[in-house]
Symmetry: C2
Subunit: 412 residues, 2 copies
């Protein structure tokens, strides 16, 4: 293993500072060429009727139009009747789902989570998605951290946690998990589907944001919606999906799926919330995407743009960190992130050094509940927005900063 | 005054039944020719950058883009910085505002409405909008009814009601009120702006849905947002608006405006809810609508389509009911509704007879909190969707049913 010389690393860093870089690897944003892939969605609608003959420009159809619902159903292998189409943001649908449970409870006869005798708790596999954790924090839901590896969450810990009647929910990202990129194993999905929680209103909020966002051949895992139904647990799972990283970010179409009881209950409450969502955008998407098969083809064009960026970053990590035995990282086959575990106690320092050198990363700790990484080890890398060349530069700076942070810790 | 013969009215009704009509005057839905007015919104976007150069297809700008915000600001005479752009539904923004106040309180240091020692109460001018009342009902907010006349709500009653510290809010539709069509007088607006409620977190939710929906020359009234600011009450008012009845229903752009404290607080909470709203639709609208002035021109084309329908219905009411001294009705100069007050105790019966004859009206009582019209007198007529000829037929049937209901009550 090569040794590191702090003075020579610092000299290298000074040279980087002098370059005045400004590179952003902080969020999972598609790059402009990816956005250009969906230009066809601009084709003017001339026939405004959905497949049932309904004029999408007028009020009505709060569940959304069949045209887009049926494509999602086919794509995700979920019965169309289990799906409600929303606005443009699946995160908004997740927030609303938690808000509804807080105010009104999980079923028409349930105690609202905000009125429980104890504090409601959510199981949060970590590292995970900061915006999931922010929703829990907003509503005062206590987060119970469980570990996550290449097979998904630590299921022994999950099965043990659901014995607590105050545990009312769990966040998961089963396909290309944010940020580790892992795809939950068949065994993990089956154990999730067969949970028998002490709290009968326990709900898994399954954020399937990256269901079709493959970088290579499709990785597959059983569909939790279907597995839960087979296990007699269809009301335990809400599945969320959107086209934000398929067509336009924040300008796509979002959906939620669940069992028939949850669908009816959600529909009844959201009827107070809005008359209908944007069906013009739904029809535009349905006409452009065409079918599940054409949507999958469309995703291969995203993959062609993203793959070289992931490979470039991984190659720099391999070349710059591996020889020194510093850190380990995931090699995701889809999704938007690479998760980097640095030597304990060096993630924040690495982030700080990189920021000062003009390379923005998601704040260290952001992937953990309350923003606290107990080991100060994890950084999330988002290679999607910068070009390949910028990714290489940014990754080189990141590696340099990681080496400095490591060397500093060994020269005190 | 002409007398009514029940047997001859019944014979007339039997003939109507035989026609097998199917006409809908129940909701304020634009007709297809109105929707066609906005075909230009289909023009493909080729430049996706907003006026600041931001690519609207990507994540970001949770407040919305300046392009549409500035048009709304000019149109409603509200400072741009007081406006947050939302999704497509202003009703959804109203629901969210109430939901936020229930869960988190009116300010960062307030007691959430759901945690108050007493039941939170809203002042509800009635007849009013059923969907406002449904939001109160969903959250268990008690509704305090005040009357409304051509000048707006009974302000003596309002000023007296806000002395109750459990009164936390009030719904208003200041321009072309739903369903009476009245425009609040200057005096009403000034008294609203100068309220000094016992509860410092009292909020007026001002649904300005029909702000520019004139049938004739624009009726004007002072802008409550501005009046409240001048009265040192800028945080007391949330104003909502959308383009649903300007471009596409449920497919337009919605907004909320308030004082700077509320804007900052709303922004902070909604940051947990969504990354951003659909900016592609915002840009599409901004490019198509162009400016406040062009938007006002666009509204004259809606008026040209709507005016003959309102006039046709009013002419039938005048011809069929006035000679018998039955009922009184509003003659709105804008908005979407005519409000008909029938002799007490005959609204439900009239609705039932009309429904059986194939003429659907909003259920009697719907315009009152809890769906209960204490006088069983009011019916809301929505002339927008049927053609002029259909409106005439429907209004004739309605008048016949009203006469039967009246005659029945006088022949027991």
């Amino acid at each position: 293993m090569n040794t590191l010389s702090l003075p020579s690393l610092q000299a290298e860093y000074a040279a980087v500072l002098a370059r005045g870089l400004s590179l952003d690897m902080s969020r999972g944003k598609p790059a402009t060429p990816q956005l250009d892939l969906s230009d066809g969605i601009q084709t003017p609608l001339t026939d405004f009727r959905d497949k049932t003959g309904f004029d999408v420009r007028n009020y009505g159809k709060p569940d959304g139009i069949e045209d887009i619902r049926d494509i999602f159903a086919d794509l995700l292998d979920i019965p169309p009747g289990d799906i409600l189409i929303g606005g443009s943001s699946s995160l908004n649908m997740m927030y609303d789902t938690v808000a509804r449970h807080m105010s009104f409870g999980a079923t028409p006869t349930s105690v609202p989570w905000s009125k429980m005798s104890g504090t409601p708790k959510f199981i949060c596999p970590a590292p995970g998605y900061d915006r999931h954790f922010a929703i829990c924090e907003a509503f005062g839901i206590e987060m119970v951290i469980v570990g996550i590896d290449d097979n998904g969450p630590d299921m022994d810990a999950v099965e043990s946690a659901v014995a607590d009647p105050n545990v009312v929910g769990m966040w998961i990202v089963p396909v290309y998990s944010n940020p580790t990129g892992c795809v939950y194993s068949e065994d993990t999905i089956r154990r999730l589907a067969n949970l028998r929680p002490a709290n009968g209103d326990f709900r898994i909020l399954c954020d399937n944001a990256y269901a079709v966002h493959h970088l290579y051949d499709a990785d597959s895992t059983p569909n939790l919606h279907g597995e839960a139904a087979r296990a007699g647990n269809s009301e335990m799972v809400y599945t969320f999906f959107s086209t934000s990283k398929i067509t336009y970010c924040g300008g796509g179409v979002a959906m939620v799926a669940s069992g028939q009881g949850n669908v009816a209950y959600t529909r009844a409450i959201t009827a107070r919330q809005t008359i209908c969502n944007d069906k013009v955008n739904q029809l535009r998407h349905a006409r452009y995407l065409g079918s599940a098969e054409r949507l999958r083809e469309h995703m291969t064009r995203h993959a062609d743009l993203l793959r070289p960026k992931f490979e470039a970053v991984l190659s720099v990590l391999e070349g710059q960190l591996a020889p020194h035995g510093i850190g380990k990282w995931t090699r995701p086959r889809g999704g938007y992130f690479i998760s980097l575990d640095l030597p304990h106690g060096t993630a924040k320092r690495t982030h700080q050094l990189a920021a000062a050198a003009g390379v923005t990363l998601t704040p260290a700790g952001a992937s953990f509940p309350y923003g606290v990484d107990p080991c100060d080890s994890n950084l999330r890398i988002a290679p999607s927005f910068p070009t390949v060349e910028e990714n290489i530069t940014a990754a080189e700076v990141l590696c340099l900063c990681a080496k400095i942070a490591f060397a500093e810790g060994h020269t005190d």
